[in-house]
């Protein structure tokens, strides 16, 4: 039988852990709400840009602008891997990394841009593949970071030999479910929107400049949305992970308490027997 004092210390430490995991759950819940609010706020902006791009694309089927080109030019691909900065969020990062590895086996020449510390750490050994790193910003999400990433990938796509930019990230489906998505962001494929009005616009200064600026903004907002989705998914995953951790701790405390009581009773019984047999011996 384990030492009573040992069991008692163990119970105390598990209770402490449970308190921490419970608090982490609460923190994640509030961060999740914030992320969801951001997603909702970004929606009209993204939709409007999408509509405009789609409109331009429908009207100018002959456009040769590389941002909108459908024809694949030859060249390597760039994969942007969006992971989290912090751990303790279940299989969130493991899934992303596995998908990325599968992607890399299919496209052995693809290059990587790592967003989030966990991905950077994992791919540390493939340093010849990594062409960009962005870490430690999920705490204070702002549009500036996504702009930085977007201008980097746009530049890589326009000026260098890369043919395609793909982002692998966790989509926020619900608190308990994240979907892994590999989304192509360049060349731009606009989503189909429902009520599209085809109006003949006058473009000033000219169409190409408009397309270029619109395209860049579209990439910006696509990345921004992806980062928001990923951060919401991360908080959701952490919430679920912490909830089950709290549950497990409660269960563990229950079993430990049983063991503790049993040990305590055994000790008492032993003492009574000792006293009783001592009294018997005196008679």
């Amino acid at each position: 039988m384990a030492n009573i004092k040992e069991i008692k210390t163990r119970i105390e430490s598990v209770i402490n852990t449970r308190q921490i995991t419970n608090a982490m759950k609460m923190v994640s819940a509030s961060k999740l709400r914030k992320a969801q609010k951001n997603i909702v706020q970004a929606r009209p902006y993204a939709n409007r840009l999408n509509e405009m791009i789609e409109m331009i694309k429908l009207k100018n089927t002959t456009t040769t602008h590389p941002l909108l080109a459908e024809v694949k030019k030859s060249g390597e691909e760039v994969v942007v891997v969006v992971t989290s900065d912090r751990g303790l969020c279940g299989a969130f990062n493991a899934h992303i990394i596995r998908t990325t590895n599968e992607y890399l086996t299919e496209h052995p020449h693809a290059k990587l841009i790592c967003v989030g510390k966990k991905g950077c750490d994992y791919f540390k050994n493939h340093s010849d593949k990594i062409i960009g790193k962005y870490v430690d910003f999920f705490n204070e999400m702002n549009f500036g970071v996504s702009k930085e990433i977007a201008s980097k990938v746009t530049e890589l796509y326009l000026n260098e030999k890369y043919s395609k930019i793909v982002v692998i990230y966790n989509e926020f489906k619900s608190i308990i479910q994240q979907n892994i998505i590999a989304k192509q962001i360049l060349p731009i494929i606009p989503q189909k929107s429902k009520n599209l009005s085809l109006i003949d616009f006058i473009y000033e200064p000219n169409e190409d400049i408009i397309i270029e600026n619109l395209g860049k903004k579209y990439v910006n907002v696509s990345i921004w949305r992806i980062l928001l989705e990923s951060s919401a998914a991360e908080q959701g995953a952490r919430m679920t992970a912490m909830e089950s951790a709290t549950e497990n701790a409660t269960e563990l405390i229950h079993t430990l308490k049983l063991t503790y009581n049993r040990a305590r009773q055994a000790a008492i019984t032993k003492e009574i027997i000792e006293i009783a047999s001592g009294a018997n011996a005196i008679k």
Binding site: A46, L49, S197, D200, E204
Partner: protein
């Protein structure tokens, strides 16, 4: 007089939507005014002041870069940041202007001139509406 609808859409904040009579937008090729029944039109915005006239009332915003589309008496402005006079931090704009000017004057190679120029233009637009 018939009204036109002005919408401003930003990625990180709630949108602005208001009815007005006349809007002056800082386009890349110069400021232009939009009245009722303006032709359908797309252009880029340069850093400057967006003036919105509602009857006698004039509201001014500092705007940095973005797009404007005019269609069917609706002006939609898509931009990353827009600031009304109320929310403007004058001291910060002033110091940003000084910083940008200093950077543009110095001749070190490390300086991103385009960025410094852009931030100078932004600061000037901000300060212009404070006066």
């Amino acid at each position: 007089m018939d009204k036109i609808l002005l919408e401003v859409i930003q990625p990180t904040q709630t949108e602005i939507s208001l009815e007005c009579d006349h809007v002056i937008v800082p386009g890349v090729d110069g400021d232009f005014g939009v009245d009722f029944n303006h032709t359908s039109f797309v252009t880029l915005i340069r850093p400057g002041i967006l003036r919105v006239y509602q009857g006698e009332n004039l509201v001014e915003y500092a705007i940095h870069e973005g797009f404007v589309t005019v269609e069917d008496n609706k002006i939609v402005i898509i931009c990353e940041t827009i600031e009304s006079v109320k929310n403007l931090d004058v001291a910060r704009a002033k110091s940003a202007k000084e910083r940008a000017e200093k950077r543009l004057k110095s001749s070190s190679e490390k300086i991103d001139y385009r960025r410094a120029e852009a931030s100078l233009k932004r600061a000037i637009a901000r300060l212009a509406i404070c006066k």
